[in-house]
């Protein structure tokens, strides 16, 4: 041999020195990777959350309109006034309805994408689901306002095929109906479902993708009908994805204050209430207390889901 290769290769500078450092102390790499996001999350996110929580325990002086910085539960008590409770219940019902609506529409799409779409079709699926997210949310909501308006395409189409009767009957339903779809809670619901749908489809699809085909075959092999397989195998295994999706749709609906202003009745939702309380009314403590409500509801929701075994398949 003319040039024998050494048993140990020479160090080639900084990159090799860093590699050696990380190899000798694996925790250093972890620290380097985690410090920036932890600072961001810890200080900016948790810090502001703590500030919010703190604000919600203050109250406002009714005469001067100034915030009294002393601990009280008075502001929380205000949430239970009829008009505020109304807002909370309305928001809760809307969020639940939107979540269920999204789940029902998303499931077949996610199932198709996870089970059958291959190659090019998978690409088309991702594109189709995410394309709506590329355009501005406001543009989409205003577009829906026009679609749902009394002179809009839905009314026009219903007249064209002679289904105006049905549309009018739906709009006559008290509570969700109204003068037109764009001024009814039903319209608000439709727009919410449309806007948040991708956030339900993607986690659902990811969780369905992880269910092996042999699991479905085993179920059929053991005598289960398609419905039984769905109930006892697919749904429980997809549950973490469904819950993840529902966290998105539920909390996004609870916090949104734009869609109900553009499409729907004058009935207020939590997001809108927070927006108005901290802006025009200057009642920061009540706004903060309102903002805590979705957090509490989400925590309760996740606790129930956990108890029901929704995360057993994780």
């Amino acid at each position: 041999m003319t040039s024998p290769t050494p048993a140990i290769l020479p160090e080639r500078g900084l990159a090799d020195r860093l590699t050696a450092l990380f190899w000798r102390h694996p925790r250093v790499l972890l620290a380097v990777l985690l410090t920036p996001p932890l600072l961001w999350l810890g200080v900016v996110y948790l810090g502001s959350l703590a500030a919010l929580l703190l604000q919600s325990f203050y109250s406002i002086d009714e005469f001067s309109g100034l915030v009294k910085q002393e601990f009280t539960l008075k502001t929380y008590a205000e949430l239970f006034r009829a008009q505020n409770l109304d807002i909370i219940i309305r928001t809760l019902l809307m969020s639940a309805a939107v979540t269920i609506g999204c789940a029902l529409i998303a499931f077949p799409i996610a199932y198709y994408a996870a089970r059958f779409a291959r190659g090019k079709w998978k690409g088309i699926f991702y594109l189709g689901v995410m394309l709506p997210l590329w355009s501005s949310y406001l543009v989409k909501v205003y577009a829906w306002k026009l679609i749902l308006a009394k002179e809009g395409i839905i009314t026009w189409a219903a007249e064209g095929v002679g289904l105006s009767m049905i549309l009018n009957a739906i709009l006559a339903i008290p509570g969700i109906g109204g003068n037109s779809l764009s001024t009814s809670l039903l319209g608000t619901f439709i727009v919410f479902v449309y806007v948040w749908l991708p956030y339900m489809i993607l986690p659902m699809q990811a969780s369905l993708e992880r269910v092996p085909t042999s699991m479905l075959e085993a179920s059929a092999d053991l005598g289960a009908s398609r419905a039984q397989t769905f109930r006892t195998v697919i749904l429980p295994l997809a549950m973490p994805g469904v819950i993840a999706g529902s966290i998105f749709t539920f909390s996004l609906t609870m916090g949104d204050y734009i869609i109900p202003q553009i499409v729907g009745t004058s009935a207020r939702f939590i997001g809108l209430a927070v927006y108005q309380l901290q802006g025009t009314a200057g009642n920061i403590p009540l706004a903060a207390a309102f903002a805590v409500v979705p957090i509490v509801i989400m925590v309760i929701y996740l606790m129930i889901a956990k108890r029901k075994g929704a995360f057993d398949a994780l």
């Binding site: 092996p212 179920s219 059929a220 092999d221 053991l222 005598g223 009908s225 039984q228 006892t232 295994l237």
Partner: protein, 335 residues
């Protein structure tokens, strides 16, 4: 005896009709009731597809399949009283072992108490008493396999299908499971059909076996029959890796000018002088229980199996070969 499973001219082609991939191509097959039947072949030979045709996860593109005399062309998997032990076991991860085993009864509407009792019985049968509360993730590979077996057997299937049942287990466990499966089958009397690419497994476990090659059955018979009298070159080579002799070599070995097979264990290595067949040792492989010697002669290479304790020739040495003429099996089939 009735046939548990009967294939007549069954095909399963994939892809476009002008250039189909023939996974299974015109297979005729009869599996007797109560037998332990092996489908043996290399990967892609169509054996697993055949198993899936029986369970109903694949639909034939041609021919008919009968299970206990009934045409199952129109019967979905959940109505076939046939159960499968899947290669990856396919245990439900969100259920404990007891619920996994009781699943087949649950979907048939059996009440919880009966189902739990039956599940415990089945767990006892596969020697997993007391494991009912565990989750599949807490079990070892061998234990999961037993659960999969119990889950299939709880339904009292007419036919039990096993897809590479021992493939994922290590050697010791595999041998133990071979004996257990065999004992279980003769105790229960259920027809077992199992797919394997391991010829040793097929030979040791099956009552009869089918050797698959390129979507067709190359040979069906008892293990002893297939091993001693391979019909084609493929079977001779795949089952027990025999010496496959071209016609001219067969003639040199004292046979007719046809393709023949000669098992390595039938050859004796002798001194080179005074014998008709002599050649040069080109390779030597130590196998523990013996050695495999490769000898080049007449332009071909022949392997001989030397039992342990016999003197082993040096590579490059000239040796003689001797065998009982009855061991030379002339093959009828082509390919």
């Amino acid at each position: 005896m009735t046939a548990a499973v009967e294939f007549s001219r069954v095909s399963r082609h994939f892809g476009p009709t002008h250039a189909p991939v023939k996974a299974v191509d015109g297979v005729d097959l009869t599996i007797a009731e109560g037998s332990f039947f092996a489908m043996l072949g290399p990967s892609g030979s169509g054996k697993t597809t055949c198993l899936r045709l029986i369970s109903g996860f694949e639909k034939p593109t041609g021919g008919t399949i009968r299970i206990f005399g009934q045409d199952v062309g129109d019967i979905p998997p959940n109505r076939r009283n046939v159960n499968t032990v899947f290669q990856d076991y396919a245990l439900f991860p969100h259920m404990n072992v007891r619920d996994n085993v009781g699943y087949g009864l649950m979907v048939k509407g059996v009440d919880r108490r009966t189902r739990d009792t039956r599940a415990e019985e089945m767990l006892a049968l596969v020697k997993l008493e007391g494991y009912g509360d565990r989750k599949p993730a807490q079990l070892s590979g061998g234990q999961r396999q037993r659960v999969a077996l119990a889950r299939a057997l709880v339904n009292e299937p007419k036919v039990l299908l096993l897809d590479e049942p021992l493939g994922a287990l290590d050697l010791k466990l595999r041998e133990a499971m071979q004996d257990e499966l065999k004992a279980l089958q003769s105790r229960l009397g259920i027809t077992f059909v199992f797919v394997t690419h391991d010829q040793g497994e097929a030979l040791s476990m099956a009552d009869s076996l089918a050797v698959f090659n390129e979507g067709k059955i190359a040979q069906i018979g008892t293990p002893a029959d297939v091993y001693a009298r391979p019909r084609t070159r493929f079977v001779a080579d795949f089952v027990g890796s025999s010496n496959v002799l071209p016609p001219e070599v067969t003639r040199a070995f004292g046979g007719p000018p046809k393709w023949a097979s000669l098992r390595p264990e039938m050859l004796r290595v002798t001194a080179a002088d005074g014998v008709a067949l002599a050649g040069t040792v080109t390779g030597l492989r130590y196998l523990g229980a013996g050695s495999r010697v490769t000898v080049a002669l007449n332009g071909t290479e022949v392997a001989a199996l030397l039992p342990a304790g016999q003197p082993v020739p040096e590579p490059g040495a000239t040796v003689g070969l001797a065998f009982d003429p009855a061991a030379l099996h002339v093959m009828e089939g082509e390919g």
